[in-house]
Every structure is written in structure tokens, then in C-alpha cells.
């Protein structure tokens, strides 16, 4: 399988503080890789570097074999991102937002693309609604539609189901599974929902204090650490080091 994301020994320092301490990993085509870690472990910084919003202090990032530093625009055309911490313009209708972003990503056949996403994400009835007036579940699906408007090869998800009720959360997870299978895209998923990670991810990276402290398939990690689920593994790993430090 081809690696769509290749991260080679990236570091990020803010002054004297080392936010990310030389991490490397790959994400294959048609793979969802989980990025786990407590708050402040370096997940958002890592995602920021993959999106070109942050410049690594050292190391290299390749997306679809293109070096990010030298091909920023080309790479941004094939990548997209969703996070509960960023929103679409609230005063615009859903359709206007999707149209604007289709233009920014130079999408051809905008009408068909919006229709396709509306059907898949069940937002057809929301197209003429004001984005700021939607519920969190509806906003989440609209943000997901925006994130897929350019048919990305690589999708970065930062807590994509945070603040969603179980029904909508399950809908989003099922959608992501199906979409990944259909389009063979790579997904990097940062989440604190361990059930979600166990369900969706082929393998996970555990980060703490800017380092990858463990990695592997969810089931293998559970076995390796002698726990019954990934949440217990997460708690063990995030607590253990600090006990020894």
C-alpha cells in the first residue's frame, strides 16, 4: 500500500519549549490512523504542521509523495480538515458556504458535488438554512461536507464527534468508514473517544509530551498492556510516565 502521509522526524519548538520531539509515522492509503494522547501531548501541533499552518523546527512531511514545504498549494488541494474548534461563516447559508469552499478548492461540477454530499450526509434540507442557526449535530455534518468538498486524498480529523449525541456520532463514524472504503483515502484521527478509535482505526499512535510513546493496532496494544480496552491503555500510558518523572 502507498503511504499518503509520511512524517519524518518532525520537531516543533516554541522558544525553549519542545512541543513535538522528533516524531515519525506513515499513513497508508485506505487507512485510518488514530492519534491519541492527553491534552498538550502535541497532537494539535502535529496536525497543524501537516496542514502547513505551522512550520516544523526540523524534519520533513510528505503528502502523496510531495514535500509539504515546497508544494504547499498542491498539497492543500488534496487535503482537508475538520475540528470542532473551527467553524464555517455563521451568517451564510449552508449552500453558500459549500459553494464558497468549492470555489476556493476549484471544484468542478460544484452543483453535483454539493448534491452528492447533501445526500450522503443528509443535509439536503439544511442547504438554505443559516449555518449559525444549526444544531451541533447539523453543524458537524455540514463541516464534514465542507471537508469533503474537494474529494481529499487525506483527511485530518480533530475530535470529529466531540459534543455529538450517540446517534449522530454513530452516523458520522459509519459515514467515515464507508467513505474511506469507497474513496481509499487516508485519515488521521485525533480523538479522546477510545471506542471510536477502536472501531475506526487500523492502528494508533500514543503521544505524550511531544513524543510517540507507543504504537500499534488497538487490539495488540490492549493485549500488550494487559488491559481490557483502549481507554485503560490510554490511562495507563498517560499516567505511568508522569508517575516515574
Amino acid at each position: 500500500m502507498k503511504n499518503l502521509i509520511e512524517v519524518q522526524n518532525i520537531k516543533k519548538n516554541y522558544g525553549n519549549k519542545e512541543a513535538v520531539k522528533g516524531i515519525s509515522f506513515n499513513v497508508e492509503e485506505d487507512e485510518i490512523l488514530g492519534l491519541l494522547g492527553p491534552n498538550g501531548s502535541g497532537k494539535t501541533t502535529t496536525i497543524g504542521m501537516l496542514l502547513g499552518l505551522l512550520k516544523p523546527t526540523s524534519g520533513q512531511i510528505f503528502i502523496n509523495n510531495l514535500k509539504l514545504e515546497e508544494n504547499r498549494i498542491q498539497i492543500l488541494e488534496m487535503i482537508n480538515f475538520i475540528s470542532p474548534y473551527i467553524e464555517l461563516p455563521k451568517k451564510l447559508t449552508v449552500k453558500q458556504n459549500l459553494y464558497v469552499y468549492s470555489k476556493l478548492y476549484k471544484v468542478r461540477n460544484i452543483k453535483e458535488r454539493i448534491e452528492y454530499l447533501s445526500e450522503k450526509l443528509r443535509i439536503g434540507e439544511l442547504l438554505n438554512s443559516i449555518t449559525g442557526e444549526l444544531s451541533s449535530g447539523q453543524k458537524n455534518r455540514v463541516s464534514l461536507a465542507k471537508a469533503l468538498v474537494n474529494e481529499p486524498k487525506v483527511l485530518l480529523l480533530d475530535e470529529p464527534t466531540a459534543s455529538l449525541d450517540p446517534e449522530v456520532g454513530d452516523f458520522v463514524r459509519t459515514f467515515l468508514e464507508d467513505y474511506k472504503k469507497e474513496k481509499k483515502i487516508s485519515i488521521l484521527l485525533a480523538s479522546h473517544n477510545m471506542n471510536e478509535v477502536t472501531r475506526l482505526c487500523k492502528s494508533v499512535l500514543m503521544m505524550k509530551n511531544g513524543e510517540i510513546i507507543d504504537k500499534g493496532k488497538p487490539k495488540d496494544l490492549i493485549t500488550k498492556h494487559g488491559r481490557t480496552n483502549l481507554e485503560e491503555v490510554f490511562l495507563k500510558l498517560s499516567r505511568s510516565k508522569s508517575e516515574y518523572n
Binding site: 516554541y14 494539535t44 501541533t45 497543524g48 496542514l51 502547513g52 499552518l53 505551522l54 512550520k55 498549494i73 498542491q74 492543500l76 488541494e77 487535503i79 482537508n80 480538515f81 475540528s83 474548534y85 473551527i86 467553524e87 464555517l88 461563516p89 455563521k90 451568517k91 451564510l92 447559508t93 453558500q96 459553494y99 464558497v100 469552499y101 468549492s102 470555489k103 476556493l104 478548492y105 476549484k106 465542507k146
Partner: protein, 263 residues
Amino acid sequence: MSITRIYGLFLRHFYLITRSFPRILDLVYWPSIQITLWGFISNFFATHTTYYNNAVGVILTCAILYDFLFRTSIGFNMLFLEEIWSRNFTNLFIAPMRIGEILTSLVITALIRSLIGLVPAILLTSPLFGISILDLGIFLFFLFLSLYIFGITLGILVSSGLLRFGPSFENIAWSTMFLLAPFGCIYYPIETLPEIFQKIAYILPLVYIFEEARNILINQTVNIQNVYYAFMWNAFYFSLSIVLFYYSFNAAKNKGTLINMGE
């Protein structure tokens, strides 16, 4: 440069303006109030001072020109701040847009915003005060162009600050025009300023623009040198603002401002 992406970002702000009547009203309301106010002050001075004798429209014309500058600059800042306030900033910067495309789109949108306010204000001056800014003739275009470039330049400089320092720079965004206004010699000749202030005024394009507007209206002559100096200083500050914007963008990428903007 992609016209599609420039148009896309323009649409984002066009939709925002056209969807909100209060926003349109806000664009039209302040310039019209400003012009009406200065129209009456202008009338008063025209009949009570010798300097403005036979030149009723001087203050009013300068008020219109200054308002255009003010609206252009604030308009540009507003476009940038809108992205921060709506927490859309990250979405914009992860879209495959070149810095040049973002700036071009904002420059066009800022012009349209300014014109929405300016045109009704100009139309008001004729029936209310019997004055037409068109008396400035063909040079009116050059004066407006100069003001537009300087307004955009200030907008880019402030946006650079927002990129570099984040939303905390917002207060500076509102105050830049007020800080520069005294040095612009908008309503009075440069000789009115103390000598040290005159030195500062001479390195800004504003003084040349407003001196020339008064010169045309009062003396009915054109001093092409003023127009030339205004463009020369504009070229300098505009280039500086572009360099600073790129510098701030790179600094923001190092510092992490782009990812935390709006928080």
C-alpha cells in the same frame, strides 16, 4: 493566481453583506452622516473665513476623500476580522489559496464595500449643499486611487499585525486612521502643523493628496508634483506592507498563531 479562488473568497464576503440589511445600512449610514455633518460645518466656514472664501466645497470634498480612505482601510481590516470572529480563519488558511490571492480578493472586496458607502454620500452633497466632488476633474480619479492604495496599505499593515500577534491586535486596527489623521492635513494646510509634525506629514502620501485637492478647488490649478509624490510614497508603503504581510505570515507559521486564531 487563480481567478476562481479570488472570486470564491470575494463571494464569501459578498454573501455576508447581501444577507444582512444592517451591514448594508452600516456601510451607507456612516459616510452619509459624516458628509452631512461636514457639509454644514463647511457651509459655516465658507461664509465666516477668508481662507475658504469662494470655495464652499473644500472641507466637504476633503471630508469625502478622508471618509473614502477611512472606509477602505477599516473595510479591509473588517474582512480579516470577520474571519477571526467567525472562527473561519483556519478554514481559510488551509484552503489552497496563495497569499497573493487572499490579498487580491480582500482588496477588491474592500473597494466594493467603500463604494457602497461613498456613492450615496457623493450623491447627497449635490442636493443638500449644491456641491459636486466632480469639480476636481480628472485628477479626482488619481486622488481617489492614491487614497485607495494608502487605505489598502494600512489595512494590510494592520492585518499583518493580526497575523503576527493574533486578535489582541484588534484595538490597533481601529485606531490607525485616527493616529494618522492629524498628520494627513485633511482639513488644514500643512503649515498649520508644528515643524516636527510637518516632517512626519511629508513622508506620508496623505498630505500631498489633501493639499492637491485644496489646491485644485481654491486656486483652480493643478500641481502634478503633489500627485507624483503621493504615488511615490504610496508605492513605498504598499511594497513595505506586502513584505511585512509575508513576513508576518511566516512568523505566524513559526509561532502557531494561525492555528490558535480566534481562541
